[in-house]
Symmetry: C2
Subunit: 209 residues, 2 copies
Amino acid sequence: MNHTVGARQAQKQQSRRALLDAGLHLLADQNLASLGVREVTREAGLSPAAFYRHFPDLAALGVALVEESLASLHVMIRAVLAEAGGAEELIDRAVDVIQRHVRDHQPHVRFLSRERHGGVRQVREAIDAELGRFAAEVGSALALQPVSAGWSEQDLRMLAELYVDHMVSTASAFLEAQEADPAREQRIAATARSQLRLISLGRRYWQGS
Amino acid sequence: MNHTVGARQAQKQQSRRALLDAGLHLLADQNLASLGVREVTREAGLSPAAFYRHFPDLAALGVALVEESLASLHVMIRAVLAEAGGAEELIDRAVDVIQRHVRDHQPHVRFLSRERHGGVRQVREAIDAELGRFAAEVGSALALQPVSAGWSEQDLRMLAELYVDHMVSTASAFLEAQEADPAREQRIAATARSQLRLISLGRRYWQGS
DNA sequence: AAGTTCGGCAAACGACTGTTTACTGAATGG
DNA sequence: CCATTCAGTAAACAGTCGTTTGCCGAACTT
């Protein structure tokens, strides 16, 4: 890591940030595949050619945004998993953290949600790989809980994927609710909590596959 | 409904079909938002101007594709819900139907998966509205099952949404597996079955929210 | 048989695209 | 203080784009 910043590097990174922010802002109602270099530089207040001082492609800018977005997501997940306590409190806390995360990082979350199945292979794969790592992390955390005594590796992975998929669905629902009707957020949160309770109920009586 | 077809209408609908097919084909590795009128007409073997005889927008073509895609999806869902029998057989049959549906309608499913959170509002809303209707339909079917005795309306809806979200996630997973590594399909199917079993276990012990 | 409808075409419009080029000028380092 | 580095610029390249226009000719109507 290079933390030494001359005024030189500082200004460059400022421009890079401007490009990322411009891209993120434009991707609010647009796909990465339909984004244009000129469009981004115009929004960032730079000349078109300046873009190529920072990224070779728009796909590269997309991958950079993925890394950024997933960094904060990772922090969020660890925050949930680090919590100890009964299943009920853990569920409440998890849904709460997701809701707040979507609120605080709306552009990043929307970007991830939109490009997860989007048209740019490189970005799609980066997102999926990282979600897979999340599932693995969740699986490890689940293994430590007393409820998981006697669970096979596969079953833990299966449950972890169910949780991650549910988290993704819930985050998307929060996103749409926030754009359309903010009052619906509470209904979504309540539904998500019930679904998690139902899952943890099934988990308690699970006998192995 | 107008079923009378002169040679006139027949040729027009043939061109319309060519446009839809061309669009669907191009959307295999591209977003609707990044699709072009000229691109579609070129692929369909028509002149650019011909497009406007059938659709005012590319968004309109997208909506038409949504309706088409969801028609077959609806058939699939009804097929699953119509099945009677124990929970185990129902689960096996459901996963099987999803897997076959993704195989047989790959372009449509990929289109839905890609545009569900895509950049074209009109299309996004059309998909979400229809998925909501699916959830309602699933909820009604669940209410008829003996296991759901004493369930509140909200809890049924909650469970129905969990099932629909799970179906969507599973379909997406099948899609990616098919494009990358066909052998992984069986692992996905096994995971989906386990997850559904876990859910129906939680369902059996549910006490209300 | 004559008249009308209308799906499809070629051509043209201006606007916008990605990318390369040669250049400028301030920060950098000896 | 002078040489070098290099982020950013303006201009030009050859395309592609969406959309409109006027027209053709085959299918309909009467």
